[in-house]
């Protein structure tokens, strides 16, 4: 029979420093894989990554082809008004086709599966946010040192 290894002490911590839909999704795909393997998961949102757990912004994450050669659009065109919105809408359609949930559903799913959400204290203070600005599933606002203590002994992924 398969080795289910329920008593694993594996732990993964992912730092999200970017506030765009593509990187936030990358975090959630890896995070979701971790929780579904019974691995303890901690997500740490810092700098622009905080947008992924801000009530007012999390439903409007975008992806831009500007300064992103992989998307194959000249920067002069990528900089035009409306292009970011168009690229975002295309990306959302592509993700939907692969059954990737909307960002809010996806992060809720990872939280429901036992993933822990932490917000960076410095970013939180610097931009003047309050607890009400944060998505409900965020557990706490912690310092970098606190985060390193939580992540100690596991794998850390920086996005």
């Amino acid at each position: 029979m398969p080795k289910f290894d329920d008593d694993t002490d594996r732990k993964v911590s992912i730092i999200l420093s970017k506030g765009t839909l593509d990187w936030a999704t990358a975090m959630l795909v890896i995070g979701n894989a971790a929780v579904s393997e019974g691995i303890e998961l901690h997500l740490f949102f810092t700098f622009y990554g905080l947008d992924a757990v801000l009530n007012k912004k999390m439903d409007h994450l975008k992806v831009t082809p500007l300064a992103n050669p992989a998307m194959g659009m000249p920067n002069a065109i990528a900089a035009l008004p409306g292009v970011t919105a168009m690229a975002t809408s295309m990306m959302k359609k592509m993700m939907k086709k692969e059954s990737v949930p909307d960002h809010r559903d996806f992060i809720q799913m990872v939280a429901d599966a036992g993933g822990h959400l932490h917000v960076c204290r410095l970013t939180f203070d610097m931009f003047g946010y309050t607890k009400d600005d944060l998505y409900d599933e965020v557990e706490d606002v912690i310092s970098a040192a606190d985060f390193l203590n939580i992540a100690d002994g596991g794998q850390i992924i920086f996005i």
Partner: protein, 105 residues
């Protein structure tokens, strides 16, 4: 191809121990497979997930992910993690006699 004996029945399995022949599966075998991984009794909700997985595999040719099971059966993510603790995707597939799911989400 490897075989294993579960509850007196010989079944074909892959390298990891997942069943490879869906026709060898039965409700009784599911109960026995569940016991193997410390799920002592299968409730209505367990069966809801298992029945969906079996039907979906027959139709789609691949094992449904947790997300798909949840959206199609109405069982929430939380419920699935309670019913099949720690590794719901693989445990559901194992008990349902299907290959482990290959999808990410």
């Amino acid at each position: 191809m490897a075989t294993e004996v579960i509850a007196g029945q010989e079944i074909s399995v892959d390298d990891e121990g997942f069943m490879t022949d869906p026709s060898e599966w039965s409700d009784d075998l599911a109960q026995a497979l569940a016991k193997e991984i410390s799920i002592d009794s299968l409730t209505e909700d367990h069966w809801k997930a298992i029945r969906f997985l079996r039907a979906d595999y027959a139709e789609m040719g691949e094992t449904a992910t947790i997300r798909r099971v949840s959206t199609e059966t109405g069982l929430t993510t939380k419920q699935l993690y309670e019913l099949f603790p720690k590794k719901p995707a693989k445990k559901m597939a194992y008990i349902s006699g299907l290959p482990k799911p290959t999808g990410c989400v």
